[in-house]
């Protein structure tokens, strides 16, 4: 207990937390004493997995935004809407609050999530001198807000199920919906698989007081 100074890493003390139940274990054991999960002191491969998922998501973000996400038949006329034009239609029909909610959930959040995770992963991979505390705050925000992108998909599923009156008024989903769903799934997984402890090890040589 005497060597418990303020800035000690658990790894340096021969201790590690179980990845599943967070119980304290000694590094020499293979499995957690409480839940039998394999102990991983650091999951170094998680960085590669996270990069792979993130790059795939970034590529899919392009079709998700340029292809139409809904198809609306209104009295015989067919109108295709991308995420962006759908929001501009809402603005034109004076529904600002809804437009802001949808803009945040389907354009701002996915974009910020990909940019944020790219910065975060580059900071680990290329040892960028960015404040670790700020990175971690950003990471927690990304983890929490990422789920809200599902809003658009829920709205589409409700609309498609309700509005089906043939030529008169009919809503259908369009190809971007799948790409958008995959963007959400992959970015959430990229944040989920990453072992954030890597950040705090790698930058140890730099000033870590902030």
């Amino acid at each position: 207990m005497n060597n418990l100074n303020e800035k000690a890493q658990g790894k340096a003390m021969g201790l590690t937390a179980c990845p599943s139940c967070n119980k304290l274990n000694e590094i020499k054991y293979l499995r957690c004493s409480r839940c039998d999960t394999l102990l991983l002191v650091r999951d170094t491969s998680s960085l590669q997995k996270s990069w792979a998922l993130l790059i795939t998501a970034a590529i899919l973000l392009i079709p998700a935004n340029i292809y139409p996400i809904t198809m609306l038949t209104d009295r015989g006329r067919i109108r295709y809407d991308t995420i962006y034009t759908g929001i501009t239609h809402l603005v034109q029909s004076d529904m600002f609050p809804i437009a802001i909610i949808l803009f945040t959930a389907s354009i701002l959040v996915p974009l910020l999530k990909i940019v944020g995770l790219t910065i975060y992963l580059s900071a680990i991979s290329f040892r960028l001198p960015i404040s670790k505390k700020m990175l971690m705050v950003g990471f927690h925000i990304i983890e929490w807000i990422g789920r809200w992108s599902m809003l658009d998909l829920f709205v589409i599923s409700i609309t498609v199920a309700l509005v089906n009156m043939g030529q008169l008024l009919d809503a259908k989903a369009a190809p971007a919906a799948t790409a958008f769903a995959l963007v959400i799934l992959l970015t959430q997984m990229a944040a989920k698989v990453l072992d954030t402890r890597l950040l705090w090890d790698r930058l140890e040589s730099k000033d870590d007081t902030n």
Binding site: M1, L4, K7, A8, Q9, G10, K11, M13, L15, T16, A17, S20, C21, N22, L24, E26, R34, C35, D36, T37, L90, M95, I98, I101, L102, K132, K133, M136, H140, R147, W148, M150, L151, L153, F154, V155, I156, S157, I158, T159, V160, A161, L162, V163, N164, M165, L168, L169, A173, A177, T178, A181, I184, L185, K192, T196, R197, L199, W200, D208
Partner: protein, 208 residues
């Protein structure tokens, strides 16, 4: 012996692996990691009987919330209704099965699994079923708990019902029904259940 002492008074931050000395907390307070602000632990606030009551309430609302229509649309005399699952099916049938599957998973399956999983954990702990089989079940359930609660997105679905109402009220008349009420209640009860539930505390009960 020294190890036992370390076990009780030290905790490792799961995000940055910092060694933190445990302290007693006043009720309602949370301990954050001093280096990276991740939540480390909070005061055990998880009353088994309270959670059991919330679980049973949630179970009562679960069926009507999923089988009664959540929205009703009237358009020149024709009436359309939908449940959550029908919405997911409609998207799947147009070929977007990934979208349908994710809607089904996050709005129907995960919330139901969440409630059933917490209910079984509580029953095992409350009736002190200590044989190997039940201990194993409890371990498995606790290990999957965090992923299930992340997948369950009732709050987002509730907001998207509101967004759809505003969106569609331009074209047609929209009515909320008993299903919408049951769904809102399910959301509120699950919210309180998740506030009351504490994974760390449940793992400790396994040790006892």
């Amino acid at each position: 012996m020294e190890r036992d002492c370390i076990d009780d008074c030290v905790i490792l931050c799961r995000s940055c692996d910092l060694v933190v000395r445990k302290r007693a907390l006043p009720s309602g307070a949370r301990a954050l990691c001093p280096r990276c602000d991740t939540v480390l632990y909070d005061t055990p606030y998880c009353s088994i009987n309270g959670m059991l009551a919330l679980c049973i309430t949630a179970l009562i609302f679960l069926a009507p919330a999923n089988f009664l229509p959540i929205l009703e649309l009237h358009f020149f005399g024709s009436v359309r209704t939908t449940t959550i699952a029908e919405g997911a099916m409609a998207v799947s049938q147009q070929g977007y099965w990934i979208v349908g599957l994710s809607v089904m998973l996050t709005a129907v399956i995960a919330p139901a699994l969440l409630i059933l999983s917490i209910l079984s954990q509580i029953l095992i702990i409350k009736y002190q079923l200590h044989n190997a089989f039940f201990r194993n079940v409890l371990k498995r359930l606790l290990a999957y708990q965090s992923i299930i609660s992340q997948l369950s997105m009732l709050e987002i679905y509730l907001i998207s019902i509101l967004v759809s109402v505003f969106n569609l009220s331009d074209f047609a008349d929209i009515f909320l029904g008993m299903g919408t009420f049951c769904f809102s209640m399910l959301f509120i009860v699950t919210l309180f259940l998740q506030r009351e539930y504490n994974l760390e505390h449940m793992w400790n009960m396994l040790d006892e």
